[in-house]
Point group: C2
Amino acid sequence: MTVRVRVPASSSNLGSGFDCIGIAIDRWLSASVTLHNALSGFSINRRGKLSAVRVRADQDLFTRGFRAACGAAGAVLPAGVTIDATSDIPVGCGLGSSAAAIVAGALLADTALGLGLSRSQILEIGTTIEGHPDNIAPAIYGGAVLSVHTPAGLVCAPLHVARGIELLIAVPPFPNDTKAARAALPQTLPHTDAAIAASRAAALVQGLASGDGALLGAALDDVLHVPFRRGRIPGYDAVVAAARNAGAFGATLSGAGSAILAIAPRERSAAVGTAMLAAWRDLGIEAELIKCTSDVAGASVIAAPRTPHHAPLTTHQ
Amino acid sequence: MTVRVRVPASSSNLGSGFDCIGIAIDRWLSASVTLHNALSGFSINRRGKLSAVRVRADQDLFTRGFRAACGAAGAVLPAGVTIDATSDIPVGCGLGSSAAAIVAGALLADTALGLGLSRSQILEIGTTIEGHPDNIAPAIYGGAVLSVHTPAGLVCAPLHVARGIELLIAVPPFPNDTKAARAALPQTLPHTDAAIAASRAAALVQGLASGDGALLGAALDDVLHVPFRRGRIPGYDAVVAAARNAGAFGATLSGAGSAILAIAPRERSAAVGTAMLAAWRDLGIEAELIKCTSDVAGASVIAAPRTPHHAPLTTHQ
Protein backbone atom coordinates (compact mmCIF):
# COMPACT_ATOMS: atom_id res chain seq x y z
CA MET A 1 0.00 0.00 0.00
CA THR A 2 1.39 3.43 -0.95
CA VAL A 3 0.20 6.80 0.28
CA ARG A 4 1.40 10.01 -1.38
CA VAL A 5 1.04 13.60 -0.22
CA ARG A 6 2.22 16.97 -1.47
CA VAL A 7 2.91 20.07 0.57
CA PRO A 8 3.72 23.61 -0.66
CA ALA A 9 6.65 25.84 0.22
CA SER A 10 5.89 28.91 2.31
CA SER A 11 7.34 32.30 3.10
CA SER A 12 6.92 33.50 6.66
CA ASN A 13 7.05 36.84 8.47
CA LEU A 14 6.51 38.98 5.34
CA GLY A 15 8.31 41.72 7.25
CA SER A 16 6.30 42.64 10.31
CA GLY A 17 4.29 39.42 10.68
CA PHE A 18 7.06 37.90 12.78
CA ASP A 19 6.36 34.27 13.73
CA CYS A 20 2.64 34.68 12.99
CA ILE A 21 2.05 35.29 9.26
CA GLY A 22 3.04 33.11 6.34
CA ILE A 23 1.96 32.46 2.77
CA ALA A 24 2.03 29.30 0.69
CA ILE A 25 4.38 29.43 -2.29
CA ASP A 26 4.05 27.49 -5.54
CA ARG A 27 6.96 25.11 -4.96
CA TRP A 28 6.25 21.61 -3.77
CA LEU A 29 7.51 18.72 -1.73
CA SER A 30 5.91 15.37 -2.43
CA ALA A 31 6.40 12.21 -0.45
CA SER A 32 5.07 8.68 -0.31
CA VAL A 33 5.25 6.12 2.45
CA THR A 34 5.46 2.36 2.41
CA LEU A 35 4.80 0.43 5.60
CA HIS A 36 6.47 -2.88 6.39
CA ASN A 37 5.83 -5.54 8.97
CA ALA A 38 9.54 -6.31 9.22
CA LEU A 39 11.07 -4.44 12.15
CA SER A 40 13.32 -2.03 10.23
CA GLY A 41 12.48 1.40 11.64
CA PHE A 42 12.47 4.48 9.40
CA SER A 43 14.30 4.90 6.14
CA ILE A 44 14.15 8.04 3.97
CA ASN A 45 14.98 8.19 0.27
CA ARG A 46 15.56 11.77 -0.83
CA ARG A 47 15.56 13.27 -4.32
CA GLY A 48 15.46 16.76 -5.83
CA LYS A 49 16.47 19.59 -3.50
CA LEU A 50 16.32 17.11 -0.61
CA SER A 51 19.33 15.21 -2.00
CA ALA A 52 21.63 17.55 -0.13
CA VAL A 53 20.02 16.81 3.26
CA ARG A 54 22.30 14.76 5.53
CA VAL A 55 20.28 13.78 8.58
CA ARG A 56 19.89 10.34 10.14
CA ALA A 57 16.52 8.86 9.20
CA ASP A 58 15.38 8.58 12.81
CA GLN A 59 16.01 12.33 13.30
CA ASP A 60 14.64 13.45 9.95
CA LEU A 61 11.72 15.89 10.00
CA PHE A 62 9.57 13.45 8.00
CA THR A 63 10.17 10.91 10.75
CA ARG A 64 9.47 13.43 13.51
CA GLY A 65 6.19 14.49 11.88
CA PHE A 66 5.18 10.86 11.31
CA ARG A 67 6.02 9.83 14.88
CA ALA A 68 4.28 12.85 16.45
CA ALA A 69 1.12 12.14 14.46
CA CYS A 70 1.09 8.54 15.75
CA GLY A 71 1.69 9.83 19.27
CA ALA A 72 -1.13 12.39 19.05
CA ALA A 73 -3.54 9.70 17.87
CA GLY A 74 -2.33 7.17 20.46
CA ALA A 75 -1.39 4.79 17.63
CA VAL A 76 1.41 2.24 17.66
CA LEU A 77 4.25 3.01 15.23
CA PRO A 78 4.51 0.62 12.28
CA ALA A 79 7.48 -1.75 12.47
CA GLY A 80 9.02 -0.43 9.29
CA VAL A 81 8.43 2.86 7.46
CA THR A 82 10.03 3.87 4.16
CA ILE A 83 9.47 7.42 2.96
CA ASP A 84 10.35 8.40 -0.60
CA ALA A 85 10.48 12.17 -0.94
CA THR A 86 11.31 14.71 -3.59
CA SER A 87 11.11 18.47 -3.50
CA ASP A 88 11.79 21.58 -5.54
CA ILE A 89 11.71 23.77 -2.41
CA PRO A 90 15.17 25.27 -1.73
CA VAL A 91 16.44 23.92 1.59
CA GLY A 92 17.50 26.25 4.40
CA CYS A 93 16.66 29.44 2.51
CA GLY A 94 13.56 30.58 4.42
CA LEU A 95 11.00 28.88 2.19
CA GLY A 96 9.47 26.48 4.67
CA SER A 97 11.25 23.34 3.52
CA SER A 98 11.34 22.07 7.11
CA ALA A 99 7.67 22.82 7.71
CA ALA A 100 6.76 21.04 4.49
CA ALA A 101 8.67 17.92 5.57
CA ILE A 102 7.07 17.90 9.03
CA VAL A 103 3.56 18.34 7.60
CA ALA A 104 4.24 15.67 4.97
CA GLY A 105 5.40 13.22 7.64
CA ALA A 106 2.34 13.82 9.79
CA LEU A 107 -0.05 13.68 6.84
CA LEU A 108 1.52 10.44 5.58
CA ALA A 109 1.00 8.87 9.00
CA ASP A 110 -2.54 10.18 9.25
CA THR A 111 -3.51 8.86 5.83
CA ALA A 112 -1.63 5.57 5.80
CA LEU A 113 -2.69 4.60 9.30
CA GLY A 114 -6.17 6.14 9.16
CA LEU A 115 -5.48 8.16 12.29
CA GLY A 116 -8.35 10.57 11.61
CA LEU A 117 -6.39 13.63 12.70
CA SER A 118 -7.90 17.03 11.95
CA ARG A 119 -5.94 19.74 10.17
CA SER A 120 -5.77 21.70 13.40
CA GLN A 121 -4.27 18.67 15.17
CA ILE A 122 -1.64 18.44 12.43
CA LEU A 123 -1.07 22.18 12.92
CA GLU A 124 -0.45 21.67 16.65
CA ILE A 125 1.89 18.74 15.93
CA GLY A 126 3.86 20.74 13.37
CA THR A 127 4.02 23.85 15.53
CA THR A 128 5.33 21.86 18.48
CA ILE A 129 8.13 20.39 16.36
CA GLU A 130 9.03 23.61 14.54
CA GLY A 131 8.51 25.94 17.51
CA HIS A 132 6.32 28.44 15.62
CA PRO A 133 3.33 28.14 13.30
CA ASP A 134 4.09 30.67 10.60
CA ASN A 135 5.29 28.18 7.97
CA ILE A 136 3.35 25.18 9.24
CA ALA A 137 -0.06 26.90 8.89
CA PRO A 138 0.21 27.97 5.21
CA ALA A 139 1.82 24.60 4.39
CA ILE A 140 -1.36 22.96 5.71
CA TYR A 141 -4.06 25.44 4.74
CA GLY A 142 -2.57 27.20 1.68
CA GLY A 143 -2.86 30.91 0.94
CA ALA A 144 -1.83 33.50 3.51
CA VAL A 145 -2.51 32.59 7.13
CA LEU A 146 -2.35 34.44 10.45
CA SER A 147 -1.61 32.22 13.47
CA VAL A 148 -2.03 33.59 16.98
CA HIS A 149 -1.23 31.90 20.27
CA THR A 150 -4.07 32.31 22.75
CA PRO A 151 -4.72 30.86 26.19
CA ALA A 152 -7.23 28.55 24.46
CA GLY A 153 -4.66 27.31 21.93
CA LEU A 154 -3.45 28.31 18.52
CA VAL A 155 -5.93 30.26 16.37
CA CYS A 156 -5.44 30.39 12.60
CA ALA A 157 -7.26 32.60 10.14
CA PRO A 158 -6.90 32.93 6.37
CA LEU A 159 -5.84 36.40 5.23
CA HIS A 160 -7.20 38.00 2.10
CA VAL A 161 -4.54 39.02 -0.41
CA ALA A 162 -5.45 41.72 -2.94
CA ARG A 163 -5.34 40.63 -6.59
CA GLY A 164 -3.19 43.51 -7.76
CA ILE A 165 -0.05 42.59 -5.83
CA GLU A 166 2.59 39.99 -6.53
CA LEU A 167 5.28 38.40 -4.37
CA LEU A 168 8.77 37.89 -5.76
CA ILE A 169 11.33 35.78 -3.98
CA ALA A 170 14.99 35.83 -4.90
CA VAL A 171 16.78 32.73 -3.60
CA PRO A 172 20.58 32.84 -3.36
CA PRO A 173 22.62 29.64 -3.65
CA PHE A 174 23.59 29.69 0.04
CA PRO A 175 21.36 28.64 2.95
CA ASN A 176 20.93 30.46 6.24
CA ASP A 177 21.37 28.95 9.68
CA THR A 178 17.88 29.25 11.17
CA LYS A 179 19.07 28.59 14.73
CA ALA A 180 21.74 31.27 14.49
CA ALA A 181 19.19 33.68 12.98
CA ARG A 182 16.94 33.10 15.98
CA ALA A 183 19.85 33.45 18.40
CA ALA A 184 20.61 36.84 16.83
CA LEU A 185 17.38 38.27 18.23
CA PRO A 186 17.81 40.46 21.33
CA GLN A 187 16.32 39.49 24.69
CA THR A 188 14.53 42.82 25.05
CA LEU A 189 13.32 45.63 22.84
CA PRO A 190 12.58 49.30 23.57
CA HIS A 191 8.86 49.70 24.23
CA THR A 192 8.67 52.29 21.46
CA ASP A 193 10.00 49.74 18.95
CA ALA A 194 7.52 47.13 20.17
CA ALA A 195 4.72 49.64 19.55
CA ILE A 196 6.04 50.36 16.05
CA ALA A 197 6.26 46.62 15.41
CA ALA A 198 2.63 46.14 16.43
CA SER A 199 1.41 48.96 14.17
CA ARG A 200 3.30 47.47 11.24
CA ALA A 201 1.90 43.98 11.85
CA ALA A 202 -1.55 45.59 11.67
CA ALA A 203 -0.44 47.38 8.50
CA LEU A 204 0.61 44.05 6.98
CA VAL A 205 -2.83 42.49 7.41
CA GLN A 206 -4.60 45.58 6.10
CA GLY A 207 -2.05 46.11 3.33
CA LEU A 208 -2.32 42.54 2.05
CA ALA A 209 -6.11 42.79 2.06
CA SER A 210 -6.34 46.18 0.34
CA GLY A 211 -3.15 46.22 -1.74
CA ASP A 212 -2.36 49.65 -0.25
CA GLY A 213 1.25 50.30 -1.18
CA ALA A 214 1.97 52.72 1.67
CA LEU A 215 0.78 50.18 4.25
CA LEU A 216 2.73 47.37 2.59
CA GLY A 217 5.83 49.55 2.46
CA ALA A 218 5.54 50.18 6.21
CA ALA A 219 4.79 46.51 6.91
CA LEU A 220 7.83 45.29 4.99
CA ASP A 221 10.08 47.62 6.99
CA ASP A 222 10.21 45.40 10.08
CA VAL A 223 11.82 46.39 13.39
CA LEU A 224 11.28 43.14 15.32
CA HIS A 225 13.69 40.71 13.66
CA VAL A 226 15.08 41.92 10.32
CA PRO A 227 17.48 44.53 11.81
CA PHE A 228 19.16 41.73 13.78
CA ARG A 229 19.27 39.22 10.94
CA ARG A 230 19.93 41.13 7.75
CA GLY A 231 23.67 41.40 8.38
CA ARG A 232 23.87 37.61 8.04
CA ILE A 233 22.75 37.73 4.37
CA PRO A 234 25.41 39.07 1.97
CA GLY A 235 23.86 41.60 -0.40
CA TYR A 236 20.67 42.08 1.63
CA ASP A 237 20.68 45.89 1.52
CA ALA A 238 21.55 46.02 -2.18
CA VAL A 239 18.80 43.57 -3.17
CA VAL A 240 16.16 45.33 -1.05
CA ALA A 241 17.14 48.71 -2.48
CA ALA A 242 17.07 47.32 -6.02
CA ALA A 243 13.56 45.94 -5.46
CA ARG A 244 12.31 49.28 -4.15
CA ASN A 245 13.96 51.24 -6.94
CA ALA A 246 12.33 48.97 -9.51
CA GLY A 247 8.88 49.71 -8.10
CA ALA A 248 8.33 47.24 -5.24
CA PHE A 249 6.41 48.51 -2.20
CA GLY A 250 9.25 47.02 -0.18
CA ALA A 251 11.33 43.91 0.37
CA THR A 252 12.45 41.88 3.35
CA LEU A 253 13.79 38.50 4.43
CA SER A 254 11.71 35.46 3.50
CA GLY A 255 11.49 33.79 6.89
CA ALA A 256 14.91 34.35 8.42
CA GLY A 257 16.50 34.32 4.95
CA SER A 258 18.59 33.65 3.01
CA ALA A 259 15.90 34.35 0.38
CA ILE A 260 14.58 37.90 -0.01
CA LEU A 261 10.91 38.58 -0.64
CA ALA A 262 9.53 41.67 -2.38
CA ILE A 263 5.91 42.72 -2.75
CA ALA A 264 5.13 44.75 -5.83
CA PRO A 265 2.21 45.97 -7.89
CA ARG A 266 1.63 43.37 -10.60
CA GLU A 267 2.69 45.70 -13.40
CA ARG A 268 6.10 46.21 -11.80
CA SER A 269 6.75 42.62 -10.80
CA ALA A 270 8.82 41.60 -13.82
CA ALA A 271 11.09 44.62 -13.38
CA VAL A 272 11.40 44.01 -9.65
CA GLY A 273 12.38 40.37 -10.09
CA THR A 274 14.99 41.27 -12.70
CA ALA A 275 16.42 44.03 -10.49
CA MET A 276 16.74 41.73 -7.46
CA LEU A 277 18.66 39.10 -9.44
CA ALA A 278 20.85 41.79 -11.02
CA ALA A 279 21.72 43.27 -7.61
CA TRP A 280 22.91 39.89 -6.38
CA ARG A 281 24.69 39.15 -9.68
CA ASP A 282 26.66 42.40 -9.23
CA LEU A 283 28.06 40.78 -6.08
CA GLY A 284 28.88 37.56 -7.90
CA ILE A 285 25.83 35.72 -6.56
CA GLU A 286 23.56 33.85 -8.97
CA ALA A 287 20.10 33.80 -7.38
CA GLU A 288 16.95 32.04 -8.54
CA LEU A 289 13.61 33.86 -8.84
CA ILE A 290 10.27 32.50 -7.62
CA LYS A 291 7.15 34.46 -8.57
CA CYS A 292 4.18 33.89 -6.31
CA THR A 293 0.48 34.19 -6.55
CA SER A 294 -1.64 34.29 -3.43
CA ASP A 295 -3.89 31.34 -4.20
CA VAL A 296 -1.55 28.38 -3.69
CA ALA A 297 -3.37 25.41 -2.16
CA GLY A 298 -2.30 23.73 1.05
CA ALA A 299 -1.15 20.19 1.73
CA SER A 300 -3.15 17.42 0.09
CA VAL A 301 -3.23 13.66 -0.26
CA ILE A 302 -2.76 12.78 -3.91
CA ALA A 303 -2.83 8.98 -3.60
CA ALA A 304 -4.23 6.97 -0.73
CA PRO A 305 -5.48 3.48 -0.01
CA ARG A 306 -9.12 2.97 -1.04
CA THR A 307 -10.07 1.83 2.46
CA PRO A 308 -8.19 3.79 5.07
CA HIS A 309 -7.12 1.85 8.12
CA HIS A 310 -8.62 3.23 11.29
CA ALA A 311 -6.17 1.62 13.63
CA PRO A 312 -2.40 1.10 13.54
CA LEU A 313 -1.41 -1.13 10.63
CA THR A 314 0.74 -3.34 12.81
CA THR A 315 -2.34 -4.66 14.55
CA HIS A 316 -4.34 -5.17 11.34
CA GLN A 317 -2.03 -6.66 8.74
CA MET B 1 -20.06 85.28 10.94
CA THR B 2 -20.33 81.99 12.81
CA VAL B 3 -18.77 78.68 11.88
CA ARG B 4 -19.87 75.46 13.60
CA VAL B 5 -18.26 72.01 13.53
CA ARG B 6 -18.94 68.70 15.20
CA VAL B 7 -16.45 65.96 16.00
CA PRO B 8 -17.11 62.45 17.32
CA ALA B 9 -15.70 60.73 20.38
CA SER B 10 -13.30 57.86 19.77
CA SER B 11 -11.94 54.79 21.50
CA SER B 12 -8.31 53.99 20.84
CA ASN B 13 -6.06 50.93 21.15
CA LEU B 14 -8.94 48.39 21.21
CA GLY B 15 -6.54 46.14 23.09
CA SER B 16 -3.58 45.35 20.88
CA GLY B 17 -3.82 48.31 18.49
CA PHE B 18 -1.68 50.40 20.83
CA ASP B 19 -1.27 53.99 19.62
CA CYS B 20 -2.31 53.02 16.08
CA ILE B 21 -5.96 51.91 15.96
CA GLY B 22 -9.04 53.84 17.00
CA ILE B 23 -12.73 53.90 16.24
CA ALA B 24 -15.21 56.79 16.17
CA ILE B 25 -17.91 56.61 18.84
CA ASP B 26 -21.39 58.09 18.65
CA ARG B 27 -20.86 60.87 21.20
CA TRP B 28 -20.23 64.38 19.95
CA LEU B 29 -18.47 67.60 20.64
CA SER B 30 -19.75 70.63 18.76
CA ALA B 31 -18.18 74.05 18.68
CA SER B 32 -18.62 77.36 16.95
CA VAL B 33 -16.22 80.23 16.53
CA THR B 34 -16.73 83.95 16.33
CA LEU B 35 -13.92 86.16 15.12
CA HIS B 36 -13.42 89.74 16.31
CA ASN B 37 -11.27 92.58 15.10
CA ALA B 38 -10.81 93.81 18.66
CA LEU B 39 -7.53 92.51 20.07
CA SER B 40 -8.89 90.19 22.75
CA GLY B 41 -7.10 86.88 22.17
CA PHE B 42 -8.89 83.59 22.74
CA SER B 43 -11.90 83.01 24.95
CA ILE B 44 -13.63 79.64 25.39
CA ASN B 45 -17.20 79.16 26.64
CA ARG B 46 -17.74 75.57 27.74
CA ARG B 47 -21.00 73.68 28.28
CA GLY B 48 -22.03 70.06 28.73
CA LYS B 49 -19.25 67.66 29.78
CA LEU B 50 -16.75 70.43 29.05
CA SER B 51 -18.08 72.51 31.96
CA ALA B 52 -15.70 70.73 34.30
CA VAL B 53 -12.62 71.67 32.26
CA ARG B 54 -10.43 74.25 34.02
CA VAL B 55 -7.75 75.34 31.60
CA ARG B 56 -6.71 78.86 30.66
CA ALA B 57 -8.14 79.76 27.25
CA ASP B 58 -4.72 80.32 25.70
CA GLN B 59 -3.67 76.78 26.70
CA ASP B 60 -6.97 75.10 25.83
CA LEU B 61 -6.87 72.33 23.22
CA PHE B 62 -9.36 74.23 21.04
CA THR B 63 -6.93 77.14 21.04
CA ARG B 64 -3.95 74.90 20.35
CA GLY B 65 -5.72 73.24 17.40
CA PHE B 66 -6.85 76.62 16.06
CA ARG B 67 -3.38 78.17 16.38
CA ALA B 68 -1.60 75.17 14.84
CA ALA B 69 -3.96 75.24 11.84
CA CYS B 70 -3.16 78.90 11.28
CA GLY B 71 0.53 78.13 11.65
CA ALA B 72 0.41 75.24 9.15
CA ALA B 73 -1.34 77.47 6.60
CA GLY B 74 0.98 80.40 7.21
CA ALA B 75 -2.01 82.53 8.21
CA VAL B 76 -2.05 85.40 10.69
CA LEU B 77 -4.08 84.71 13.84
CA PRO B 78 -7.29 86.74 14.14
CA ALA B 79 -7.15 89.47 16.78
CA GLY B 80 -9.99 87.96 18.79
CA VAL B 81 -11.41 84.44 18.77
CA THR B 82 -14.39 83.25 20.82
CA ILE B 83 -15.14 79.54 20.80
CA ASP B 84 -18.45 78.26 22.17
CA ALA B 85 -18.28 74.54 22.76
CA THR B 86 -20.49 71.82 24.14
CA SER B 87 -19.91 68.10 24.36
CA ASP B 88 -21.45 64.87 25.60
CA ILE B 89 -18.08 63.08 25.44
CA PRO B 90 -16.90 62.13 28.95
CA VAL B 91 -13.69 64.02 29.69
CA GLY B 92 -10.50 62.18 30.72
CA CYS B 93 -12.05 58.70 30.44
CA GLY B 94 -10.30 57.43 27.30
CA LEU B 95 -12.95 58.52 24.82
CA GLY B 96 -10.96 60.98 22.77
CA SER B 97 -12.33 64.16 24.29
CA SER B 98 -8.94 65.86 23.86
CA ALA B 99 -8.60 64.72 20.25
CA ALA B 100 -12.10 65.98 19.49
CA ALA B 101 -11.26 69.43 20.92
CA ILE B 102 -8.00 69.65 18.96
CA VAL B 103 -9.66 68.60 15.70
CA ALA B 104 -12.56 71.00 16.35
CA GLY B 105 -10.15 73.89 16.93
CA ALA B 106 -8.21 73.15 13.74
CA LEU B 107 -11.37 72.65 11.69
CA LEU B 108 -12.89 75.88 13.01
CA ALA B 109 -9.79 77.78 11.96
CA ASP B 110 -9.69 76.05 8.58
CA THR B 111 -13.33 76.84 7.84
CA ALA B 112 -13.62 80.31 9.36
CA LEU B 113 -10.38 81.54 7.80
CA GLY B 114 -10.65 79.57 4.55
CA LEU B 115 -7.23 78.05 5.12
CA GLY B 116 -7.85 75.23 2.63
CA LEU B 117 -6.20 72.59 4.79
CA SER B 118 -6.63 68.97 3.75
CA ARG B 119 -7.84 66.31 6.19
CA SER B 120 -4.37 64.79 6.23
CA GLN B 121 -2.90 68.18 7.18
CA ILE B 122 -5.37 68.41 10.05
CA LEU B 123 -4.35 64.86 10.99
CA GLU B 124 -0.68 65.90 11.13
CA ILE B 125 -1.57 68.99 13.20
CA GLY B 126 -3.63 66.96 15.66
CA THR B 127 -1.08 64.17 15.92
CA THR B 128 1.68 66.64 16.66
CA ILE B 129 -0.33 68.20 19.49
CA GLU B 130 -1.63 64.92 20.94
CA GLY B 131 1.56 62.91 20.37
CA HIS B 132 -0.18 59.96 18.72
CA PRO B 133 -2.77 59.61 15.95
CA ASP B 134 -5.05 56.88 17.30
CA ASN B 135 -7.86 59.17 18.48
CA ILE B 136 -7.19 62.03 16.07
CA ALA B 137 -7.61 59.86 12.95
CA PRO B 138 -11.08 58.41 13.74
CA ALA B 139 -12.19 61.83 15.02
CA ILE B 140 -11.39 63.20 11.56
CA TYR B 141 -12.27 60.30 9.27
CA GLY B 142 -14.90 58.40 11.27
CA GLY B 143 -15.20 54.61 11.49
CA ALA B 144 -12.23 52.50 12.54
CA VAL B 145 -8.83 53.73 11.38
CA LEU B 146 -5.30 52.34 11.39
CA SER B 147 -2.54 54.96 11.53
CA VAL B 148 1.06 53.98 10.91
CA HIS B 149 4.16 56.13 11.15
CA THR B 150 6.41 55.65 8.12
CA PRO B 151 9.56 57.39 6.94
CA ALA B 152 7.32 59.14 4.38
CA GLY B 153 4.89 60.40 7.04
CA LEU B 154 1.75 59.17 8.72
CA VAL B 155 -0.33 56.69 6.73
CA CYS B 156 -4.00 56.17 7.64
CA ALA B 157 -6.30 53.47 6.37
CA PRO B 158 -9.95 52.75 7.16
CA LEU B 159 -10.53 49.34 8.73
CA HIS B 160 -13.53 47.22 7.92
CA VAL B 161 -15.65 46.27 10.94
CA ALA B 162 -17.88 43.21 10.60
CA ARG B 163 -21.60 43.86 10.97
CA GLY B 164 -22.20 41.15 13.53
CA ILE B 165 -20.13 42.68 16.33
CA GLU B 166 -20.91 45.50 18.72
CA LEU B 167 -18.74 47.66 20.97
CA LEU B 168 -19.84 48.44 24.50
CA ILE B 169 -18.12 51.05 26.61
CA ALA B 170 -18.71 51.35 30.32
CA VAL B 171 -17.63 54.77 31.60
CA PRO B 172 -17.03 55.17 35.33
CA PRO B 173 -17.55 58.54 37.03
CA PHE B 174 -13.82 59.06 37.60
CA PRO B 175 -11.28 60.15 34.97
CA ASN B 176 -7.83 58.70 34.40
CA ASP B 177 -4.61 60.65 34.28
CA THR B 178 -3.41 60.08 30.71
CA LYS B 179 0.11 61.33 31.42
CA ALA B 180 0.47 59.00 34.39
CA ALA B 181 -0.91 56.12 32.30
CA ARG B 182 1.77 56.76 29.70
CA ALA B 183 4.45 57.07 32.35
CA ALA B 184 3.42 53.64 33.66
CA LEU B 185 4.69 51.99 30.48
CA PRO B 186 8.07 50.26 30.82
CA GLN B 187 11.13 51.41 28.87
CA THR B 188 11.75 47.95 27.46
CA LEU B 189 9.82 44.76 26.84
CA PRO B 190 10.94 41.13 26.44
CA HIS B 191 11.31 40.35 22.74
CA THR B 192 8.89 37.44 23.15
CA ASP B 193 6.21 39.84 24.43
CA ALA B 194 6.85 42.22 21.56
CA ALA B 195 6.31 39.33 19.15
CA ILE B 196 3.06 38.37 20.91
CA ALA B 197 1.95 42.01 20.77
CA ALA B 198 2.58 42.14 17.02
CA SER B 199 0.60 38.96 16.39
CA ARG B 200 -2.32 40.32 18.39
CA ALA B 201 -2.30 43.64 16.54
CA ALA B 202 -2.58 41.60 13.35
CA ALA B 203 -5.39 39.61 14.99
CA LEU B 204 -7.22 42.84 15.80
CA VAL B 205 -7.31 43.99 12.17
CA GLN B 206 -8.36 40.56 10.92
CA GLY B 207 -10.81 40.03 13.79
CA LEU B 208 -12.55 43.37 13.26
CA ALA B 209 -12.86 42.65 9.54
CA SER B 210 -14.14 39.09 9.89
CA GLY B 211 -15.88 39.22 13.26
CA ASP B 212 -13.90 36.10 14.28
CA GLY B 213 -14.41 35.82 18.03
CA ALA B 214 -11.21 33.87 18.71
CA LEU B 215 -9.11 36.50 16.95
CA LEU B 216 -10.91 39.34 18.73
CA GLY B 217 -10.49 37.57 22.06
CA ALA B 218 -6.74 37.35 21.45
CA ALA B 219 -6.58 40.95 20.21
CA LEU B 220 -8.36 42.32 23.28
CA ASP B 221 -5.86 40.53 25.55
CA ASP B 222 -3.10 43.09 25.09
CA VAL B 223 0.46 42.71 26.43
CA LEU B 224 1.89 46.07 25.33
CA HIS B 225 0.16 48.57 27.60
CA VAL B 226 -2.85 47.16 29.47
CA PRO B 227 -0.82 45.07 31.98
CA PHE B 228 0.91 48.27 33.12
CA ARG B 229 -2.22 50.43 33.23
CA ARG B 230 -5.06 48.24 34.45
CA GLY B 231 -4.05 48.53 38.10
CA ARG B 232 -4.88 52.24 37.92
CA ILE B 233 -8.57 51.54 37.20
CA PRO B 234 -10.51 50.26 40.24
CA GLY B 235 -12.67 47.29 39.25
CA TYR B 236 -10.90 46.67 35.94
CA ASP B 237 -10.50 42.91 36.38
CA ALA B 238 -14.06 42.45 37.64
CA VAL B 239 -15.62 44.40 34.77
CA VAL B 240 -13.54 42.59 32.14
CA ALA B 241 -14.42 39.20 33.66
CA ALA B 242 -18.11 40.15 33.80
CA ALA B 243 -18.07 41.15 30.12
CA ARG B 244 -16.45 37.86 29.12
CA ASN B 245 -18.79 35.80 31.27
CA ALA B 246 -21.77 37.53 29.68
CA GLY B 247 -20.60 36.54 26.21
CA ALA B 248 -18.16 39.23 25.08
CA PHE B 249 -15.17 38.10 23.01
CA GLY B 250 -13.11 40.16 25.42
CA ALA B 251 -12.77 43.55 27.05
CA THR B 252 -9.98 46.05 27.62
CA LEU B 253 -9.24 49.67 28.44
CA SER B 254 -10.75 52.28 26.15
CA GLY B 255 -7.64 54.32 25.37
CA ALA B 256 -5.73 54.36 28.65
CA GLY B 257 -9.02 54.18 30.59
CA SER B 258 -10.83 54.87 32.78
CA ALA B 259 -13.59 53.54 30.50
CA ILE B 260 -13.63 49.83 29.65
CA LEU B 261 -14.50 48.62 26.16
CA ALA B 262 -15.96 45.22 25.33
CA ILE B 263 -16.51 43.67 21.90
CA ALA B 264 -19.36 41.22 21.70
CA PRO B 265 -21.50 39.40 19.18
CA ARG B 266 -24.57 41.55 18.57
CA GLU B 267 -26.95 39.07 20.20
CA ARG B 268 -24.97 39.20 23.45
CA SER B 269 -24.39 42.93 23.57
CA ALA B 270 -27.32 43.84 25.84
CA ALA B 271 -26.28 41.20 28.38
CA VAL B 272 -22.64 42.28 28.20
CA GLY B 273 -23.48 45.94 28.81
CA THR B 274 -25.68 45.06 31.78
CA ALA B 275 -23.01 42.79 33.26
CA MET B 276 -20.30 45.45 32.99
CA LEU B 277 -22.40 48.04 34.79
CA ALA B 278 -23.41 45.48 37.43
CA ALA B 279 -19.79 44.54 38.10
CA TRP B 280 -18.88 48.16 38.76
CA ARG B 281 -22.07 48.71 40.78
CA ASP B 282 -21.01 45.81 43.05
CA LEU B 283 -17.99 47.96 43.90
CA GLY B 284 -20.15 51.01 44.55
CA ILE B 285 -19.34 52.61 41.21
CA GLU B 286 -22.18 53.87 39.00
CA ALA B 287 -20.93 53.68 35.41
CA GLU B 288 -22.59 54.89 32.22
CA LEU B 289 -22.96 52.65 29.16
CA ILE B 290 -22.24 53.71 25.58
CA LYS B 291 -23.21 51.29 22.82
CA CYS B 292 -21.33 51.73 19.59
CA THR B 293 -21.86 50.94 15.99
CA SER B 294 -18.97 50.93 13.57
CA ASP B 295 -20.31 53.46 11.09
CA VAL B 296 -19.98 56.71 13.01
CA ALA B 297 -19.02 59.59 10.71
CA GLY B 298 -15.97 61.76 11.24
CA ALA B 299 -15.67 65.48 11.89
CA SER B 300 -17.84 67.75 9.78
CA VAL B 301 -18.67 71.41 9.31
CA ILE B 302 -22.35 71.89 10.07
CA ALA B 303 -22.56 75.65 9.54
CA ALA B 304 -20.13 77.80 7.62
CA PRO B 305 -20.00 81.19 5.99
CA ARG B 306 -21.45 81.20 2.50
CA THR B 307 -18.26 82.64 1.03
CA PRO B 308 -15.23 81.26 2.83
CA HIS B 309 -12.39 83.68 3.35
CA HIS B 310 -9.20 82.56 1.68
CA ALA B 311 -6.87 84.66 3.75
CA PRO B 312 -6.72 85.56 7.44
CA LEU B 313 -9.81 87.51 8.46
CA THR B 314 -7.72 90.20 10.13
CA THR B 315 -6.49 91.33 6.76
CA HIS B 316 -9.89 91.20 5.08
CA GLN B 317 -12.42 92.57 7.51
